[in-house]
């Protein structure tokens, strides 16, 4: 039986023992889905080496080169996750001969791979199916960790790759990845400020409004079916809701005198927080989407705006100038128990992490940069330090990644980074400026 060579075994053993030392030194493990890979990844110190050979076509004719392109997209997704170090674009794993399979895995393992991803493509008419098989290359028998079949229409090959990547992340961390998501944003490429959508990695940028007006502040509903946004399409800044994947008309959500702006869906999708000035100055309101009833949460004579919900739906962070300047405050979802969160600078655009433990915001202390703070006001830290302005962060559904806008390369473009500010990278640019990014929840 093939076994990893002694050098590799020592390498793996030392990594694992180091990790276990950390686990044993910390409080007793209580995670229900832990395994050795979770522990490796949770330390943040070590990426998992995964090899993703080109996929084998087992049915149909691969005229589009999917055997090579599908795993490459998956490889980029896993690299982006910052959990994996990926080797890809190598010949497919043989499908029939068990001895050849083992020999291939042994080669990968001896090269340092901890895991291997095999893909078997079946092309049937207008459908693509991939059977993914995930192997533990640190186990002597190259244990099969999981196998899963994913099928999608043939015109959505990238989405298929994203789903495979998200399943790999699920297998190693207990939570699905975020590759099968979209980013809504505002783009000036057509002259006006139009709402746009693209895949999380920048693929397929498409305008979803074409009213030649000013469209602002897209925000996803939790079911990922709709976007709330402010638009001047009727002259005044009203709040609308659109369904970008459905043939449904745009709805007017709030069309009061004054501003109707800064929408934020509650985590359960039943309420929409927003800013209205119908009572004389900008205040935060919550709309019950089922009944149409508005409830005013704030009452200060100056500006209250930019609500963002905690993932429990029990609290709302918002921006107010009630303490002078602009600062982030937190109140409960009924508007009571207001407490101040930021002390220095000019602070706007709070966005509560979907994990609940962090609120990211934009602070002006010279230039604009992104900062983060815990909901209790502790652990204030700076995430970006130029160049240019870095603003308008939006969380990925895993709470690990952020998308934001930066003027570091001239006009505003969208960038991503990890929640600690590391791994900053540009999303491939599209014509015009891109701002106001909103990372979608995972697609259904």
């Amino acid at each position: 039986m093939m076994r990893p060579g002694r050098p590799l075994l020592c390498l793996v053993a030392s990594v694992v023992v180091l990790v276990l030392a950390g686990v044993l030194a910390s409080p007793p493990p209580v995670r229900s889905q832990s395994d050795i890979f979770v522990n490796v990844l949770a330390t943040g110190a070590k990426k998992l080496n995964i090899v993703i050979p080109n996929f084998a076509v087992v049915a149909g004719s691969d005229t589009g080169g999917l055997g090579r392109s599908l795993p490459q997209v998956t490889a980029r997704d896993l690299t982006f996750s910052a959990l994996f170090s990926v080797v890809s674009d190598v010949p497919p794993i043989p499908t029939a001969d068990p001895a050849a399979v083992r020999a291939t895995f042994a080669n990968f393992a001896s090269a340092g791979a901890h895991a291997g991803l095999q893909g078997l493509i079946s092309l049937r008419g207008d459908r693509i199916e991939v059977e993914m098989r995930l192997y533990d290359l640190t186990s002597p028998e190259f244990r099969l960790i999981a196998t899963k079949k994913i099928e999608l229409p043939a015109n959505q090959p990238r989405r298929l790759s994203h789903k495979i990547a998200d399943e790999v992340v699920m297998q190693f961390t207990g939570e699905a990845g975020i590759a099968d998501t979209k980013i809504a944003y505002v783009n000036t490429g057509g002259g006006a400020k139009e709402l746009s959508l693209m895949d999380y990695d920048g693929a397929g940028p498409t305008h979803v409004t074409s009213n030649k007006s000013i469209n602002l502040s897209p925000m996803w509903s939790p079911d990922t079916r709709s976007l709330a946004f402010t638009s001047y399409m009727r002259g005044y800044p009203y709040l609308y809701r659109m369904f970008p994947f459905e043939n449904r008309p745009v709805q007017v959500v709030a069309g009061f005198l004054g501003i109707n702006s800064s929408p934020a869906f509650s985590p359960d999708g039943r309420f929409l927080a927003m800013t209205l000035s119908r009572d004389g100055n900008p205040e935060v309101y919550v709309l019950n989407l089922a009944t149409g009833a508005f409830r005013r949460l704030t009452s200060y004579s100056g500006i209250d705006t930019e609500p963002t919900w905690s993932p429990t739906g029990r609290e709302i962070a918002f921006v107010s100038e009630r303490a002078g300047g602009a600062h982030v405050f937190v109140m409960d979802a009924e508007g009571a128990n207001v407490r101040r969160l930021t002390q220095a600078g000019f602070n706007t655009q709070p966005r509560w992490s979907p994990k609940g433990d962090t609120i990211v915001f934009t602070s002006r202390q010279g230039n604009f940069d992104l900062w983060a703070v815990s909901p209790d006001g502790s652990n204030l830290r700076r995430l970006t330090a130029g160049p240019g302005n870095n603003e308008g962060a939006s969380w990925a559904p895993n709470g690990r990644h952020l998308v934001f806008q930066s003027s570091r390369s001239g006009g505003y473009q969208l960038f991503t980074m990890l929640a600690d500010g590391s791994e900053q990278q540009a999303i491939p640019r599209t014509p015009g400026e891109s701002t106001s990014a909103a990372w979608s929840p995972r697609l259904p």
Binding site: T209, G235, F245, P249, G258, I303
Partner: protein, 191 residues
Amino acid sequence: MAQRRRSALLFAVPVLALSLFLVGCPKRPATTAASAPPPTGSPTPSAAAPSTTPSPSMTPSPAAPSTAATTPPAPSEFRATDNLKDVFFDFDKYDIRPTDAKTLDTNAAWLKSNDNLVLVEGHCDERGTNEYNLALGERRAKAAMNYLVAQGVQASRITIISYGKERPTCTEHSESCWAQNRRAHFLVKAR
């Protein structure tokens, strides 16, 4: 994803550390994830899905409030006039500065002798968020409106609109340019 047993971890941790040096990595039963979920029904977002623009027609949602009975004329129906001068604001401020109060006095005097409807636009410079600047522009337009009303212009003649940072008159990234953009602008429409 296959169910993982907590007990397996608790057992595996001490055993694993030892076993790595003795016999290599521990065995665990191969797990098989659930098969792919059935295709989701409509809606099915996809890379290609948003390729068509939604119908421009709009219908009120069940939750849509009725706009106030006194729906103002569309902003496009108002016209600029040389008789009404802009007033300007400090960064993140919406109080009327003394020199600008004189401008507003002149504007108010003209409005009292010319019975037009008035649209007061509130504007901001490019710095800061769209949302905060919408609110700030609203406060600037409101401050200018309140001053005009205090000078005897009927409030019912005046509509305000905030453009936030969305419609700058000057597009350079400099304080001299920003100062021109932090403004209240006045337009009129015949009754």
